[in-house]
Structures are given as C-alpha cells and as structure tokens.
Amino acid sequence: MLSRSAQGLYWIGRYLKRAEHISRLMEQQIAALVDRPLSHIYFGWARLYSHLRVSSPVAALRDWSKEADGWGLADSFTLADDLTFTRSNEYSICSCFEMGRENARQIRHCVSSEMWICLNRSYQHMRDQHIEDIWATDPQQFYADVVQDVNTFMGVASATLYRDEGWEFLQIGRMIEHAQLMCSLLVFQTTESSEEKYGDLENYDWSSLLHCFQADEAYQHYFGLNIQASNVLNMLVTDKKLPNSVYFSLEQIGNRLNELGDAPGKRNGATANRFAGRLTSVLNYEWPDAEDKKRMIVLLENLSMRLHEYISSAWFNYEIDDTARI
C-alpha cells in the first residue's frame, strides 16, 4: 500500500476517534447544564478545554488554572459552538469530521464506497447545521448522534474494508488517538478534581467519566455503586476488557504492529514495536505498585506521542537509503 494512503487511513482513524471522544464528553456536559451546580459545569468545560489543550473563546475562561469571574451559564452556548462547529478550532467536532473526510477523499480508492458514502453523509449533515439549530432542539441527542455516526462508520469499515495494512493503520490511528486523549483527560482529572475552585464535585467528575466511556456497568459489576476515584482511575487505565480503557488501546496497537511485520524504515519500525511493548509492560508491572499515578499517566501519554512519531517515520516518511526495492 502507498505510504500516503496508509497515512490517510491512520489519520481518518485518529480524527474520527477524536470527534467521538469530544462528542461523548459534550453529551455529558450538555446533560450537566440541566441540573448540575455551576461549579460542576465550570469543571466540565475546564476538563474539555484543558485536556484538548485548546484556548477557550470566552475571555473569562481562558486560564483554567484560576477561578473564573464573570462567567455564566450562557457562555456554554459559545463554548459548545466552539467545540462543535467552529472551523478555526481544529479540535471542533466539525473540523475533525472535515479532516477525516478530507483524508478519505484523498485516498478514496483505499476506502470502500460504503465507507465513503457513510462518512460523506455524516459530514454533509454536520456541515449544514449550526449551533442555534441544535441548541433549539435537542443538543444532547445531537452529540449522541455524532457518536452513533462514528460507530456506524467503523461498523461499515469493519464489514467492508479489505483486511490489509490499511485496516491495521485505521485501527492503530484510532487507538493511538484514544490512548493520548484518555491519558490527557486523566492527567487533568487527577490534578484538578480536588481543587477548591470547583467546590465539592461529589464524585460527579469521576462518575461522569464512567458514563462517558461506557464503563459504568462494568464498574458496578466489580465495585458496586460506591464511586471511588482510585477505582475509576484503575478501571479506565488498566481494565483489559473495557474497550475504552487505555490498556485496551495500547494492547491493540501492539498486536496490530505485530501484524504489520517489518517496516520499510527498519530502525524506527523496531523502535515502534518496542515502545508498544513497553507501554503495556508499564501498565502490567509498574502501575499496580506506583504511588504517583499521575506521573505514570504523564509517562504513558509521552510514550504514546513518541510511538506516533516512530510509526510515522517507520511506515509513512521513512528514509529511503536502506529501504528494499520491490
């Protein structure tokens, strides 16, 4: 497969996972607007913006490390618009779809026509809407629909995409994006949730994460109804059966890199494989005894970012000197 095509599939996976991740959090955040205290809502926005590392369009909320004065519930409209439809925000859901679709357009011969039609329809549907439209009807449902669109796309891909390297790169892209965003989210969560400025969050911050990432049933199964931050964190990071856990993604990446075999950029390919192995080893052998979980999550995030670089330079942008000619 052409390296650029593989790279395109990888980025489709990443952008759509990003759109799904943000939509899940947005769905939760919109639900919070109905009945949660202002401090919880403020925490929700802070969590969204900080872990995505983007700047808020509301001046009063630009520095999340400080307590915000002069912010109101009405700002949620602006923030939702920014994270949903604003094209200049590369982390808005619409931008993610646009970039995912643009990658698909450039390598359209590498995706099935069903995948293309599915993605194109979702994109066109989103492109034609505005925040006023969804705000006036059912914004929560809108975000649920976006998640559904991404799931449908992946389902169509699963049913129609030929299982060659392209499939592996699509999945690796999804998993790397997921691992990075989850780590970033959990770094914020472990650092900020005890801050006084948010008041007593009543475990809302942790329980909302379980709900976002469809872990509440599994949590109840293992831990009952008592929400404890350490248990939630353990589950979201290390649960091997939870599709949205960090471990699950990292293990998948390792398996798929094994499937791919030798990379044309041999040195970086081998390093990528070692990194993937190291990531799961960290979780298997270091995490359980680690005192400072936050430091571990920061380490995981850094390693997964470097893993992305090694994958890029092993398969997409490799040096040609020592590469085999076919």
Partner: protein, 462 residues
C-alpha cells in the same frame, strides 16, 4: 431529440413516450434521486476561483441523450481515424518532421506552438502512440457532427460518463432495457488493457500508477475514480522518486517500481529538472527514466502540440497525408488569426464568431462576439491585434439542444459530446460519451470548468 420542433428522431420516440407519460412530480423525483446520488458520493469538479468550498457537485440532468447505433458507429470510425492521424503527426514532429518538410503544415505553426516540447525530440515513444487517451469534443450542427477540438493532454470527463450512467439507468429501467443501450462501464477494463500495452517490461501484471496533481485539481474526483477502476495506485509527485533511472513509489513495504504512469498532470509540472523548475507537483528525474524507456507515460509529454487550436485546423490534412483517406468527421470552419487574411475576416465579423486562445482549454479566455459588450469587444480587439497568432476564430455554431429537466419543466439546452478513444496496440471505445450541457438559457459554453452540467448518453441498438 427532435429533427424539427414537432418531429422527433425515430430512435428517440420510446424515451419521448416515457417522458410524456410521467407527471411533473415523477420527473422531479427522478431528478432528485440522481442529484442525491451525485451528492452522496460527492461526484465533483472543482471550479477555480471560487472561495467557498473548492468542491462543486457536477449538476446532472436526469434525462438521457439518445444516439442511434448507426450515428455512433460513424462517429467511432471517424474518431479512430482522427486519433491514428494525430498519433502519426506527433511521432513525426518529434522525429523526422516529414509533414513539415513537405509543407503540408507550416513549420512555425508547429514549432512556434507553446506546447511543442523540444525535450521530446528524437525520443522513442512507446507503441508510436503518444496519445493513449483522447477526448474529442463534438457538436451536432444542422450539417451533422463536427469536431470542435481534440483534447490530447489530460482530457477529463470519463468518470462522469460512468457516474451518469449509474445514476440514470435505474430511473428509466424499462426504457433502458427496451432500447438495448450500449455499455460504458467497461471503460475501466479498456483503460487497464491499454495501459498494460505500454508496459516497457512486458510483464503480465505491470505496476501502474495514476499521477494526480492532488486534491485541489479540478478533476481530482476523476483521478480517484479511475485509479479505483483500473486498480492503480493514485500517486502524487511526492509519492514517487527516481533512482538509478527507475521510478519507484513509496509504499508501506518499501520502494516499489512503477512501470506505467497514467499521468493527469500537465507537461509543465511533470519534472522540474526538464520543465518548470518551480514545479512542486512533479517528480525530479521522471523524464530521464522515460527517455531511457524504463517507465511509460500516458499520454506522452508533448502531445499538446497536436491539440493546439492552430494545429487543429490541419487535422484533415494530416488524415489525408498519413492515412491517405478522406476525413470521416469534419472540423468546424476555422480562421487562423496568424494569417493576415484570416485576421481581417475575424475583425470584420467579430459579432458572428467565437475567438479562442490557441493553447487554451477548459473554456478559459473565450470571446463570444454576439455576447460581448462594446467595451469588451474593444479590449479584445486590442489583444487580438497585439498577438494575432495566439488566436483562432470559428463561427458561432447553432449547437444542437437536448431536453433537460430544469425548474420543473423540460427546457432545451445546448449540448456537446466528448467520446474517449483509447489507443495502445489497438484502439478502443466504449459505446457512450460524456455529454456536457450549457446550463444557463441561450448559453453555448458547456465546459465543466465554466459551470456546465452533464447528462447520460445512450447509444441505442433498439
């Protein structure tokens, strides 16, 4: 569809009966379905200069244009004859130059043409077929079909021909079956077979790549579509590199040799070492590999010399010279403004003529005398007198019109026809063509790059 205002061609009667039996709502619904098909698949052609989105969905009209098998067979024979002569001509002007030496065509018309590529001089062109893919524009006048121009560089439109068919035929199932319409869907197979014939290695399964300028090119949809149809990799210049005189593409398994490149990128941008050195779209060293015979380029560089509009006027002479046959398809009467007599005629009759830049394509730079304001006319006359050799003039033709479903009614619109001829060891045509429509009322400009639409063409046996 009609010979006169009330007298339909016999082969169009069946469709006419079907249309008249349908209600406005039914036809609206058909139109909506075909439009939705194009939209959901984003079958697009980019209009340059639009600042909104760069993609524009091709406006498709749901009502097919009907041609009889006899009409088509005549066109097919004429087109094959024409392309054969053009291929002889291109090989000749980059080789022995017999046609120039014998004065059939003035030397300066050819060698003064901006598309004449001195870099191609004495290059062995595979199969002596520089034009592997030709899209010839035809218009029907009262005197029958006329060739408006030959597109020999990177002609586009064939993907829309196939997409039109897929979108249209399901909406007129019974008529389609009754008519026994000739297929166009095997174009991909024909193109693949043609490209394989150019393979310099003679392998059974050559490595073929389609070279595109990228996603911002107006015909990018088509590049994707065709790469998919022929099972080729869709590559950009940055995906290719030349090493030891061979072309490779960068794949996830390493560097893979490329044997045949179906290039959809203009000569100027192919290789910055040979042509425009500021080209970011091409592949440094590509021409070196081509000249060594290690890779085939289809179409060959330099073919633009034969679709220059000044050279066009001499195609009938080429047919007589190389094939010793009379042309089966006639040109449109053409005045070469480089000749004082023709320039004088053009200036005297500007309001009846369409003046075109000789090296132009895509309908850019056209001057339509009957539609120009006095200011536009004066400005154009100045340009024409400054550089007369850059222009040709043709009479404004009364193009044939076809019924189109516009604003909930049948409206006549000017149409043209672009069949595609594939030439390797043999010539191949599918039984259909890309039909372009001038959408604004009374417009004669059908070019997709000028906002033209499209409709399906049915060559009917029944």
């Amino acid at each position: 569809m009609f010979k006169t205002s009330r007298d339909p061609h016999s082969h169009c009667q069946r469709l006419l009966d079907e249309l008249t039996s349908m209600s406005v709502e039914e036809l609206d619904s058909v139109q909506e379905r075909v439009t939705r098909t194009f939209s959901s698949q984003s079958i697009s052609f980019t209009l340059y200069g639009e600042d909104e989105t760069t993609e524009r969905i091709i406006p498709i009209d749901c009502i097919p244009r009907i041609l009889s098998a006899a009409e088509w067979d005549h066109l097919e024979a004429g087109l094959k004859q024409r392309v054969a002569a053009l291929n002889h001509f291109i090989v000749d002007v980059y080789g022995k130059c017999r046609i120039l030496d014998e004065g059939v065509i003035p030397v300066d018309v050819v060698k003064g043409c901006p598309q004449y590529r001195i870099e191609m001089y004495n290059v062995q062109i595979p199969l002596d077929a520089p034009v592997g893919v030709c899209g010839t524009d035809l218009v029907r006048t009262q005197d029958g079909f006329r060739v408006l121009e030959d597109n020999l560089r990177v002609p586009s439109g064939v993907s829309y021909m196939i997409a039109n068919r897929q979108a249209t035929k399901t909406n007129f199932r019974e008529v389609y079956r009754d008519y026994r319409v000739r297929e166009v869907e095997q174009y991909g197979q024909f193109l693949y077979e043609t490209l394989c014939e150019f393979d310099p290695t003679g392998k059974e399964d050559p490595s073929i790549a389609l070279l595109t300028p990228g996603v911002f090119n107006s015909a990018f949809y088509e590049h994707m579509f065709l790469a998919d149809e022929i099972g080729a990799e869709l590559v950009e210049g940055r995906d290719l590199l030349v090493n030891d005189g061979y072309v490779y593409m960068r794949t996830t398994s390493g560097l893979r040799r490329v044997d045949v490149i179906y290039r959809r990128i203009d000569d100027d941008f192919l290789d910055p070492l040979f042509f425009r050195e500021d080209s970011m779209l091409g592949v440094p060293g590509l021409m070196h590999a081509y000249r060594k015979g290690n890779v085939a380029l289809v179409n060959a560089p330099g073919t633009g010399v034969a679709d220059d509009k000044s050279v066009y006027a001499y195609v009938p002479d080429m047919i007589r010279y190389y094939l010793a046959e009379e042309p089966l398809l006639q040109n449109v009467e053409t005045y070469l403004c480089r000749f004082p007599k023709d320039l004088e005629y053009t200036l005297d009759n500007l309001d009846k003529l369409v003046v075109k830049p000789v090296g132009g394509s895509g309908g850019y730079g056209l001057f339509i005398g009957s539609q120009a304001s006095p200011e536009e006319r004066n400005a154009f006359v100045e340009k024409l007198q400054d550089e007369p050799k850059n222009y040709i003039a043709q009479p404004e033709l009364a193009l044939s019109r076809a019924p189109c479903w516009i604003d909930r009614r049948l409206e006549p619109r000017c149409v043209d026809l672009r069949p595609f001829v594939l030439t390797g060891k043999t010539s191949r045509l599918v039984g259909g063509a890309f039909c372009r429509i001038a959408l604004p009322k009374d417009s004669i400009v059908v070019n997709s790059s000028q906002g033209g639409g499209a409709k399906d063409v049915w060559v009917v046996e029944g």
